[in-house]
């Protein structure tokens, strides 16, 4: 997802105009159209992941909190887009080469000026600036959605939205500039194709810190152990997971950043295959592991396994073979139930399992890149995981604590027990006594 294709990253080599001599290159304007089309179509697939998160989270909260989680999901998507437009994009992509920070300015596309002159399409790597903006924007909301699932059922609406503003306007774009903006991590040889670390771990770290500061749901952990709070709708949670799986083809496929050559078309096809195989590996691994661990298959952890597999392959969906993708996703599917149990033991309450799927598998996927991509090193991968992890933990802790001190984070115990739908919204997700 590196924006500036001329940067010296291994992935950029695949994306640029290196069509083998056997193929005639398409002309510049055709390439411009194909590349733009890629961003637009892959971008709206990623946008649809917001619906996936909304349904997954709706299914995994209790019915007294469903309307609130729906409000959070649609408002966070809107807010993330607005603040990324006003602040985030330029902060992320106007960074100087090897730098640490972009500029504070509102982005505007230069497409009109580009067209009014005699357009110079150059090699086959150009695209409409607006399509790139759109594609980058939809990624931001993904990070914010991860946070909402973990903290569901006890965080108040406005403090959560306040955090989304800071996450989308500053935390996400600053660390994003280090890599995808072409900043210091890109110079250091870090590789994160579509965002195992830059998107998923960022959301996961912010969620983990939030969960620690916010505390568990009332009654979730007692002296005798953890008390399950079964979600309201397993079909909705499953539908949400399928929607995310679909959207992920856009997430990873679009991150090839170009379609206008046979080489890119082949690469994107391989990315689609690997993305699907990793998710499948994650599902099967979680299926088997939960049967062994618990004596019964656990649906919601199998759903987490799908997401865990997808996150695991996101750092490098291009270079693995299909078999390798199954294994990379499969390891993610094994890590998920282990992390779910560990969080329970640590009394960290993660309603939807976002920390196991997005944070733990995000770290795994990032560290696994050198296994299939010889242009990367374990050391630089570790550097990226650690640097972004440290930055997000510290910055999000500061933001959570400031919000807590100023307006408070948690609903009162009385409001929590009544359900946030009644106490925060004054409505219910399913208000009818019986179907009239």
């Amino acid at each position: 997802m590196l924006k500036l294709l001329s940067k010296s990253l291994p992935l950029a080599l695949v994306g640029t105009a290196m069509a083998s001599p056997a193929f005639a290159a398409v002309d510049g304007e055709t390439a411009f159209i194909f590349n733009t089309l890629l961003f637009l179509v892959m971008g709206f697939l990623v946008m649809w992941m917001a619906a996936g998160f909304a349904m997954l989270e709706s299914g995994m909260v209790r019915s007294k909190n469903v309307a609130t989680i729906c409000v959070k999901n649609i408002t966070l998507f809107a807010i993330a887009g607005i603040v990324f437009y006003l602040v985030g994009y330029q902060l992320m992509y106007s960074v100087s080469e090897g730098g640490y920070l972009g500029s504070l300015s509102i982005w505007s596309p230069d497409d009109t000026a580009f067209l009014s002159e005699t357009p110079e399409f150059g090699e086959n790597d150009t695209y409409a600036a607006g399509s790139d903006w759109f594609f980058q924007m939809v990624f931001v909301a993904t990070a914010a959605s991860i946070v909402s699932g973990t903290l569901a059922e006890r965080i108040k609406l406005w403090p959560f939205l306040a955090f989304v503003v800071v996450l989308s306007a500053f935390i996400y774009p600053i660390q994003g500039s280090w890599q995808w903006g072409g900043g210091w991590l890109a110079e250091a040889g870090f590789s994160d194709f579509a965002g195992s670390t830059l998107v998923h771990s960022v959301g996961g770290w912010a969620a983990l810190v939030g969960a620690l500061i916010l505390g568990a749901r009332t009654g979730r952990f007692t002296s005798s152990g953890s008390v399950p709070m079964p979600g309201s709708s397993m079909p909705l949670a499953t539908l949400g997971t399928f929607i995310l799986w679909l959207g992920w083809f856009g997430f990873n496929g679009g991150s090839q950043l170009a379609l206008a050559s046979a080489e890119n078309a082949v690469a994107i096809s391989q990315i689609f295959i690997n993305t699907n195989m990793a998710a499948a590996g994650g599902v099967v691994a979680a299926l088997v592991v939960t049967q062994i661990f618990f004596g019964k298959v656990d649906l919601t952890i199998v759903l987490n396994g799908a997401i865990g597999g997808l996150v695991s392959i996101t750092a490098e969906p291009l270079t693995p073979t299909g078999i390798e993708a199954i294994l990379i996703g499969g390891v993610g599917g094994i890590l998920v139930p282990i992390a779910v149990i560990a969080l329970d033991k640590l009394k960290i309450d993660d309603v939807v399992g976002a920390i196991p799927a997005h944070l733990v598998c995000g770290i795994w996927g990032t560290l696994a890149v050198p296994l299939t991509n010889s242009g990367t090193s374990f050391g630089s991968q570790l550097l990226g995981v650690a640097a972004i992890g440290a930055f997000v933990v510290v910055s999000s802790a500061v933001v959570w604590l400031i919000i807590k001190a100023v307006i408070g984070l948690r609903a009162s115990e009385e409001d929590e027990l009544a359900g946030l739908d009644k106490s925060e919204l004054g409505m219910e997700a399913y208000p009818e006594f019986t179907n009239a």
Partner: protein, 112 residues
């Protein structure tokens, strides 16, 4: 007049309804109920942690009958709802003082 309240296993509802209507009964009321008896609850598992479900789902039937209908209907419910396994439910018979059909104002057995 008597009221029969029967608690049965949910999957037995259709069989019981057929057995009851075969005796000539013209109507009954059904509600979804939860409760426990000697069976107590059962354990379920969510995200790897077991928890006990203390109230099991049952179906609650209510019928108001003329006195002579009570015995055949009780027998119909008994034979249709019985699985010989714990949790089959119970049948209660309670005296009813009065009944009125709202549409016509008829009372007593004529209202049933």
């Amino acid at each position: 007049m008597k009221m029969i309240i029967a608690i049965i296993k949910p999957f037995k509802l259709d069989a019981v309804r057929e057995a009851i209507t075969a005796t000539g009964v013209e109507g009954l009321t059904v509600s979804e109920a939860k409760g426990f008896g000697r069976q107590k609850g059962q354990t379920e598992i969510y995200r790897g942690a077991e928890y006990s479900v203390n109230f099991l789902p049952k179906i609650r039937l209510e019928l108001v009958l003329s006195d002579d209908q009570v015995e055949p209907v009780c027998e119909a419910i008994l034979s249709a709802a019985k699985t010989d396994k714990i949790g089959d439910g119970k049948i209660f018979v309670i005296p009813v003082d009065a009944a009125t059909r709202i549409r016509t104002g008829e009372t007593g057995d004529a209202a049933l």
